[in-house]
């Protein structure tokens, strides 16, 4: 089991954003976390990424407990994150962004090789390699954010609303990218608003409401749930 979240609690002052969440992400699978704004799903992801501290509970990556670790420690265990809003470094070029993705690595030949691999996988980034990331379109920035995370050579990838604000064409491209990563053996935990996108990609889903997991199951189980149909699928 690569990722195990046990009884996770996250607090922002008096507000308890995550209240005893349990999530399991099996090896080589895509697991989705669904929920409305304020459900606590991004807080779960941030606690795993190490950008916020959990108030209680445990997070395990393989046999290592990672709650309390900073991102600079968990990245060495192969955990990479594509943050919400993509957060590329606007003042740096595409290539500088990608090289920064490999900050935790010291194998120069491997980094150069991976840089070429990213340019083959995302041709638009090769075209724009000397351009400042701030001048890229939303879809291009999204590809850069994923490519930057892949420069870590992750075994485990966290995606926080990867298709937020992107056009349907780019959304399809992201769908293919995530499937390909899964087929390459990368384990993925994804937080997303777009129900159809998550349902079609994930092998298991958690639906969060008010800081708790309300329903969990395989996509088929969730789509057959009356509650999900009414609240999230509009049927």
């Amino acid at each position: 089991m690569p990722l195990l979240i046990k009884d996770l609690h996250v607090r922002y002052g008096a507000l308890e954003a995550v209240q005893g969440v349990n999530i399991t992400v099996p090896d080589g699978k895509v697991v989705g976390i669904l929920g409305a704004n304020g459900a606590g799903k991004s807080s779960v992801l941030k606690a795993v990424a190490g950008t916020i501290r959990s108030a209680a509970g445990e997070i395990w990556l393989d046999d290592k407990r990672i709650d309390g670790m900073g991102p600079h420690q968990s990245i060495k265990l192969g955990l990479a994150t594509v943050p919400e809003g993509r957060r590329v470094f606007a003042g740096m070029t595409v290539e500088e962004n990608l090289r920064l993705g490999a900050y935790s690595r010291n194998d120069k030949p491997g980094i150069e090789q991976d840089l070429q691999t990213m340019f083959e996988r995302f041709p638009i980034l090769k075209e724009r390699r000397k351009q400042h990331a701030g001048t890229l379109s939303g879809g291009e920035q999204g590809q850069l954010a994923i490519a930057r995370a892949l420069m870590v050579r992750p075994r485990f990838l966290l995606l926080d609303e990867p298709i937020q604000g992107l056009s349907p064409v780019i959304t399809d491209l992201f769908f293919d990218i995530i499937l390909k990563l899964r087929d390459e053996g990368v384990t993925i935990m994804m937080v997303e608003h777009n129900v159809h996108f998550v349902l079609n990609l994930s092998s298991y889903l958690y639906l969060m409401e008010q800081g708790k997991v309300r329903i969990e199951g395989e996509p088929k189980e969730l789509t057959s749930s009356e509650y999900v149909q009414m609240m999230y699928l509009g049927r």
Binding site: H72, I75, R87, Y103
Partner: protein, 325 residues
């Protein structure tokens, strides 16, 4: 054509005014006076720049305005004085130049370490909250100045010169002491420029300035980075104090003036902008030197701050600031 952007209008206005001022001095007085005043401006500008760069680094990476920075400058001068005069082991067994250089390095290490301790145990507790850190640094500055008075008294100290003699440039003599200050400052500036623009450390620094959370997600250890930046910034203040000490004098209050100027430099240059700090430092160094020679020190100071206010009216983020902070 980025240097001709409308955004840099005030920077160009300032640059052209400086040229006009220089032409006026050249026409009205003579070349020797011009060179003498310019050289003094360069010496002052470089000293202020070393102090200001530390402040600019700390603001850029940590969003911290360390008002004890002037006292770190003073501690640098006191450390050099301590190793050169008070404990005369170095000067007893070594020629004066290596003794002075070793004292400078020791001052950098001691004050740098002091900076990291202050960051680790004081500033970090407030997690980037500007006001508490500002108040703490003000208090710390007062404590450090008082501590020096208690430990070594109020009397002015002087550091023996390691570089006796002088050189002549265009008919004007420049003491070797000042020349050493210029050369050392230039070496440090080139080293800092190389560190920021050509190393992994520099790339990480730019990333942290832009987005601290995104930088952390790339594997940059923000806590460790803050300590390193605090060390470099404090050590720069210390070396500036150590270079300034033999040329001028060493007193517990000597940090106040350079700190005020350094603060003015980073505001004028644009908070966090290293090139902006460079240009502003030379501008203020020249204004102080030209103003003090031709207008008197008080009017020069009035003129300096009038220019800063004018620039900030037209560009509130400073010459090369981009807002955001």
């Amino acid at each position: 054509m980025r240097f001709f952007k409308k955004d840099y209008g005030p920077a160009w206005a300032l640059f052209l005014s400086a040229i006009a001022l220089m032409v006026y001095v050249l026409v009205e007085y003579n070349f020797t006076v011009f060179v003498r005043v310019s050289m003094n401006g360069i010496v002052l500008g470089l000293t202020y720049l070393l102090v200001a760069l530390g402040l600019a680094l700390m603001w850029g990476v940590m969003h911290l305005l360390n008002f004890a920075h002037g006292q770190f400058f003073m501690m640098g001068a006191f450390s050099v004085w301590y190793f050169m005069v008070r404990v005369d082991v170095l000067t007893k067994y070594l020629p004066i130049v290596p003794a002075y250089l070793i004292s400078l390095v020791l001052a950098m290490v001691i004050v740098g370490m002091m900076g990291t301790l202050v960051e680790r145990y004081l500033f970090r507790r407030f997690g980037g909250d500007l006001l508490p850190a500002l108040l703490i640094s003000l208090g710390l500055g007062l404590i450090l100045a008082q501590a020096m008075i208690l430990a070594f008294g109020l009397l002015t100290k002087s550091i023996p010169t390691a570089f006796a003699g002088s050189q002549r440039f265009f008919g004007v003599s420049l003491t070797n002491e000042r020349l050493a200050l210029v050369i050392s400052a230039l070496v440090l500036l080139v080293a800092l420029w190389w560190l920021v623009s050509h190393t992994k450390f520099g790339r990480a620094m730019v990333a942290i300035r832009e987005d601290q959370t995104a930088a952390a997600l790339q594997g940059i250890d923000i806590g460790k980075f803050r300590l390193i930046v605090m060390f470099i910034g404090s050590a720069l203040a210390a070396v500036a104090g150590g270079l300034y000490g033999p040329v001028f004098q060493v007193t517990p209050e000597m940090g106040t003036g350079p700190m005020a100027t350094a603060f003015a430099i980073i505001v004028l240059g644009g908070l966090g902008s290293l090139p902006g700090a460079g240009i502003a430092a030379f501008f203020l160094g020249f204004v102080e030197s030209f103003g003090a020679t031709f207008l008197g020190a008080t009017i020069a100071q009035f003129f300096t701050f009038a220019v800063i206010i004018l620039v900030l009216i037209f560009k509130p983020t400073g010459l090369f600031g981009h807002g955001g902070h």
